[in-house]
């Protein structure tokens, strides 16, 4: 396997991997926000900066989008890296002064200065939710506007009709600005204002999941007859009963 040098240590990497991936696999920690193992790299948060000493253009580079290569020598904690990272974190915190993950990073790094931007919605524009919605959702959110007005938005700021309620956006948000409220059989996702009816098990009444998604699944993997419309637990019981085997009593 090819090797590169990170913090003076030889680290293996597979071809096509980035420096961040190589570092993580080699047990070297580099803070990163917009990177997500399932969504790939995007290079928007700039927190994963490292310093290239040799084997590339010397200077700072975002390790999440820097391809690992044989003669690359990088350092993750030089004076220069730390100083730049402090600035980056300060800028991110100015947008979301209350985000716990950012505050924790700042505490670890020390000496991070920032002034909160008044009226900021608290999003760092990392694009994880947008990418997640594209990858597993219905592609209902996207970047909109430009420059300092840029934000993640639903078209025309209206509740997106196609939202599946899969909550992938909530799951991947590193600063927890996407909130989901469950209320009387529906979930609402903010700030998109999606409203999704839940589907319920027709036997025990337990929530199975968002109705649209259940409908979509039903279309792709149709379940007909007595097993349709059941929660996993009831389905197993019905299946067992149907098979004429053991009937598991509810506990």
């Amino acid at each position: 396997m090819p090797e590169m040098i990170i913090n003076g240590l030889a680290v293996n990497f597979r071809s096509g991997e980035t420096v961040l991936q190589a570092a993580l696999a080699g047990g070297i920690h580099i803070p990163a926000l917009c990177h997500h193992p399932g969504l790939g790299h995007f290079g928007s948060c700039r927190l994963c900066l490292v310093e290239i000493l040799a084997g590339g253009r010397p200077g700072l580079a975002a390790s999440c989008s820097l391809p690992a290569s044989e003669d690359l020598v990088v350092e993750t904690g030089t004076e220069r890296v730390v100083r730049a990272r402090r600035v980056v974190l300060g800028l991110l915190l100015a947008r979301c002064p209350d985000a716990k993950p950012l505050l924790e990073l700042a505490e670890n790094l020390g000496a991070v200065k920032f002034t909160p931007r008044p009226g900021d919605p608290g999003c760092i524009l990392c694009g994880r939710c947008v990418r997640a919605c594209r990858a597993v959702g219905a592609n209902v959110i996207g970047f909109a506007w430009r420059g300092r007005d840029r934000r993640v938005a639903v078209p025309f700021d209206q509740p997106p009709a196609d939202c599946l309620g899969c909550r992938a956006c909530e799951q991947v948000c590193p600063v927890n600005v996407i909130k989901v409220v469950e209320d009387r059989g529906r979930i609402r996702i903010f700030p998109w204002q999606s409203e999704i009816e839940m589907a319920y098990c027709r036997n025990c009444g337990a929530a199975i999941g968002p109705g649209v998604q259940a409908g979509r699944l039903q279309k792709r993997f149709p379940v007909e007859g007595p097993l349709s419309g059941l929660c996993p637990a009831c389905r197993r019981r019905f299946q067992a009963a149907l098979a004429g085997g053991l009937v598991i009593q509810p506990t």
Binding site: G142, R146, P155, F156
Partner: protein, 157 residues
């Protein structure tokens, strides 16, 4: 049905690459903005997520989600025009037209905008009216400028 007239525009553009912008441009030209139904119809026809079209529509300043006026007056606020007094030109136009920057007059005739560098800094400060550029504009002459650039178009008439 209005959906169809937008669909017709979409269908006229057949290049497999890069037809989104020309479609949006044509809609913008025809309706002086991008109506919501137009974007929805285009997304459906192009089989693209509406969120992506919305991103494009809001990114470029040449598109607008609100109807613009018949005539577009764009004051350049690039660096040189800024230094040469673009702010005063805008202020004067705001007073004359009775709208603030970005606004459209009540009669739907004029939209006053600020634009970024138009690429002719030696002529600063410049104002573009319906696409043609006017050089070395002074706050005192904007009245005349509009009158001469737009036939019968004196503000407040």
């Amino acid at each position: 049905m209005t959906g169809n007239e937008y669909t017709d525009i979409v269908k006229r553009h057949t290049s497999p690459n890069g037809r989104v912008l020309s479609i949006l441009e044509e809609i913008q030209r025809k309706y002086r903005h991008l109506p919501e139904e137009a974007l929805r119809a285009a997304a459906e026809e192009l089989n693209l997520p509406l969120s992506q079209l919305y991103g494009v529509a809001t990114f470029y300043t040449s598109f607008s989600l609100q109807p613009r006026g018949e005539h577009i007056i764009g004051v350049c606020h690039g660096t040189v025009c800024h230094v040469k007094g673009a702010a005063r030109v805008t202020a004067e136009l705001e007073k004359k037209l009775g709208v603030s920057e970005g606004g459209t007059t009540g009669d739907g005739k004029f939209t006053l905008e600020s634009v970024k560098c138009l690429g002719c800094c030696s002529l600063a400060p410049v104002v573009s009216i319906d696409g043609s550029v006017h050089a070395r504009v002074k706050p005192e002459t904007v009245d005349e400028l509009i009158k001469s650039a737009i036939p019968g178009g004196a503000p407040g008439d």
